[in-house]
Amino acid sequence: MLLSRVAERVYWQARYLERAENVARLLHVFSALQLDLPKGTKLGWQTLVQITGHEEQFVEKYKQENERNVVRFLLAERNGISLVDMLAFARENARTTREIMPTEAFELINGLYYFARDNAEAGISRAERNEILDQIVSRSQQIGGLMAGTMSRDEAYSFVRLGRSLERADMTTRIVDVDSQKLMPELEVEDAEPEAREPYENILWMNVLRSSSAYQMYRQHVRERINGEDVVRFLLQNEQLPRSAAHNLTTMTKVLRNLPNSNKVNWQVNKTRKLVRDADVNRLLRRGLVRHLDSVQKEIAQVHFKIADTWFLPGNS
């Protein structure tokens, strides 16, 4: 039977690992997006800080929201927020649950942490960034694959899946939240014509899809020319897409069937799932998307609290 303390650490290990991968994806996509913009246009890098929800800490430390500062802040700095720190936390949680995780999983997480720690500084400049971020994403995928291929479908694995799904659902709602006007403010100013913005809007949505590895799947399943409405619907509501909010919430309901005393958590997950699935995206895009996504994120946070209340040691979270 799984100890409450171990369940908690396994869950957080999965969350931190997933969050690190998401940050790597976001940085990767932003770096690529920048290259598609017209000469002299600056990308609104602060959007990245907003997505991760750490504006306050950023402003405390940096005056300028430029590429270098944002990348340093999110990738390399030892500030308890950066990708390297996410991996340090994931490793620490893995190190303290080694008795139940596959040995190879710890070795991979450990190796990934050292790789990121030793290379993150180099990733601040553009030249090596892609290579490093690629490595981080693919090694994270390898860890997920190893766990899927070696762990029994027991309670420990259920907590890995809960942590990962929750983090993915949360991150996808944050990515969809990007505001194209803030992201490309200069285009707005220089070109009043909406038509001039359009190609860049498309590039933006394309990159949003790419950040979730969903571009190809979108092409195959939606078959519409890329547009905001379909992309948002795809990322939030598509049940088949492994990084969509709906898919991950549904996964959680399945995982919960294997765990004892899961009623309260299940109720909260279903409430969140309904909120995501029943939303009228077309209407929200015209008005209220930001508020809607905020309330989804709040419900997801509630899912976490219900999980902690139900299974973790009291007074720990």
């Binding site: 039977m1 100890l3 190190r95 080694r98 070795e107 005393n261």
Partner: protein
């Protein structure tokens, strides 16, 4: 530059690999010539590869320092140490004999105290011992065994014989590194295994440990719930706690995971409370139960001691077992073996002087600059005086300490520890080693083939503790050729 055994010289010390410059001892010949067959670059590459393997495998230990606790990579020298099978068989018997006698002694101390009544061991030595737990009086653990896991420190003297330096009966550590060192060596020198040497495997220790622990269960169930109780992630041996739990498939618990109800022990799981049968505790006696021992302990579990005394849970090692690993009691072990088993000791002690005895103390005080002085209850090489290397000030300090508290000190001549080669940055050089085999006793007993070899990495040094810069070596028990 290749390894040159002709320039390798251990001086007056007994070297376990090279008998005289250029000549390897018989069992080590293939190892010595194999090392010679590699170029300097190849050897250094293997060294680097082994260090990398240790890093990625996450074999670590924790060092306490002012700057906080640091998780460090485990230091291992890649050249293995060799012991022949016939020598080990004899040593192994000696270790089992010793632990059996020590367990008789502990059981006697907490029950009939015959050995005290017969005046073989002075009663006040026990009553004054910091490791005697009066709360344990009258307890009869299963099989009358108190020390289930023992780490016995052995050294080889100038005569090439093993001597017992000390018995560790409380929470001896290091066994996980013994197993992991082998795993690293297999990666480093796969050519040497099977082709050149038939080496006794060490990887089944966790299975032996689980069998022994399961045999202690008070409940007669097919799969007793066995847990490893750790002080937590900041303990220097946390790696080992987690490692053993993983390899045994046991839960790794901290004090906060356990709760005692109706004198039974339970762990908090995601499905509520679940009963625990056997606790392999890696927490010192004084911290296991704040209701009985150290009241400020946050590591332990309130009520655990009573649950054990009522026979509802097994504790390994039992509280109070440390009464026999006191360095003063150590000097009585040959008599203890004769008294309980009516046998001669197979393994010898290092000759020792007790400071509590007036005549012996006189000898110690007069020869302090030639002796090693040890306090009764310290571990990890703390509080020791190495006479020949000590300053006048240190000698005077110890003279004062011994006079003030003679019960707490014993002295031994400085034994010449044997040497084995280590791979330095440029050449192979002799360094001093000791050996910690692990002995299990439950319904039956078991000794690891070999054990953990610790090596002083600094030239001429005798300090082998990893907390003080010591390293380790894989230890091979090989069939006699």
């Amino acid at each position: 530059m290749r390894v040159n055994w002709k320039t390798y010289n251990s001086g007056k010390f007994f070297d376990e690999i090279i008998s005289s410059p250029g000549y390897a001892r018989k069992p080590a010949r293939r190892l010595a010539s194999y090392l010679r067959s590699l170029t300097h670059e190849e050897l250094q590459q293997k060294k680097t590869a082994a260090e990398l393997a240790i890093k990625t495998m996450g074999i670590s230990f924790t060092v306490y320092s002012d700057a906080g606790n640091i998780d460090r990579e485990w230091p291992m020298d890649i050249i293995p140490r060799l012991i022949t099978g016939s020598e080990w068989n004899q040593t192994s018997k000696g270790l089992q004999q010793r632990l059996e006698a020590l367990n008789c002694f502990i059981h006697d101390i907490y029950n009939d105290q015959k050995i005290l009544k017969d005046k073989i061991v002075p009663e006040d030595l026990i009553m004054d011992s910091g490791n005697f737990r009066k709360q344990c009086l009258g307890m009869k653990p299963k099989y009358n065994v108190w020390a289930h896991i023992c780490g016995t420190d052995l050294i080889k003297g100038d005569d090439g014989q093993f001597y017992v330096l000390e018995d560790n009966l409380r929470v001896p550590s290091g066994v996980s590194y013994m197993v992991e060192n082998r795993r690293v060596t297999k990666r480093t020198f796969p050519e040497l295994f099977a082709d050149d040497y038939s080496i006794r495997p060490v990887a089944d220790y966790p299975a032996e440990l689980l069998d022994m622990l399961s045999s202690l269960s008070p409940r007669q169930v097919k799969h007793p719930e066995v847990v490893v109780l750790t002080p937590g992630v900041f303990n220097s041996a946390y790696f080992e706690h987690s490692y053993l739990a993983q390899r045994m498939g046991a839960e790794l618990v901290e004090g906060g995971d356990l709760v005692v109800e109706d004198d039974k022990v339970f762990m908090r799981t995601i499905d509520g409370l679940s009963q625990v049968d056997v606790i392999y505790r890696r927490i010192d006696d004084m911290f296991i139960d704040p209701a009985v021992f150290n009241k400020d302990s946050v590591l332990g579990v309130r009520g655990l001691f009573n649950a054990w005394k009522k026979g509802n849970v097994a504790l390994a090692n039992a509280p109070g077992a440390g009464v026999a690993d006191d360095k003063i009691i150590y000097t009585y072990v040959p008599e203890i073996i004769k008294y309980y088993l009516d046998e001669d000791p197979i393994l010898s002690n290092v000759p020792s002087y007790l400071c509590v005895d007036r005549k012996q103390r006189q000898h110690v005080l007069e020869n302090l600059d030639k002796l090693v002085v040890k306090p009764a209850n310290e571990s990890g090489g703390c509080g020791m005086l190495i006479g020949p290397q000590a300053s006048k000030k240190e000698l005077a300090e110890f003279r004062r300490r011994i006079k003030a508290d003679p019960r707490n000190y014993m002295a031994q001549p400085l034994i010449s520890l044997s040497t084995v080669p280590i791979l330095g940055d440029r050449v192979v050089e002799p360094r001093h080693v000791d050996l910690r085999p692990f002995v299990l006793q439950g319904d039956k007993s078991y000794v690891t083939p070999g054990g953990l070899t610790r090596v002083a990495m600094v030239k001429g040094s005798y300090v082998v503790n990893s907390s003080q810069g010591g390293g380790s070596k894989d230890t091979w028990v090989v069939d006699d050729a």
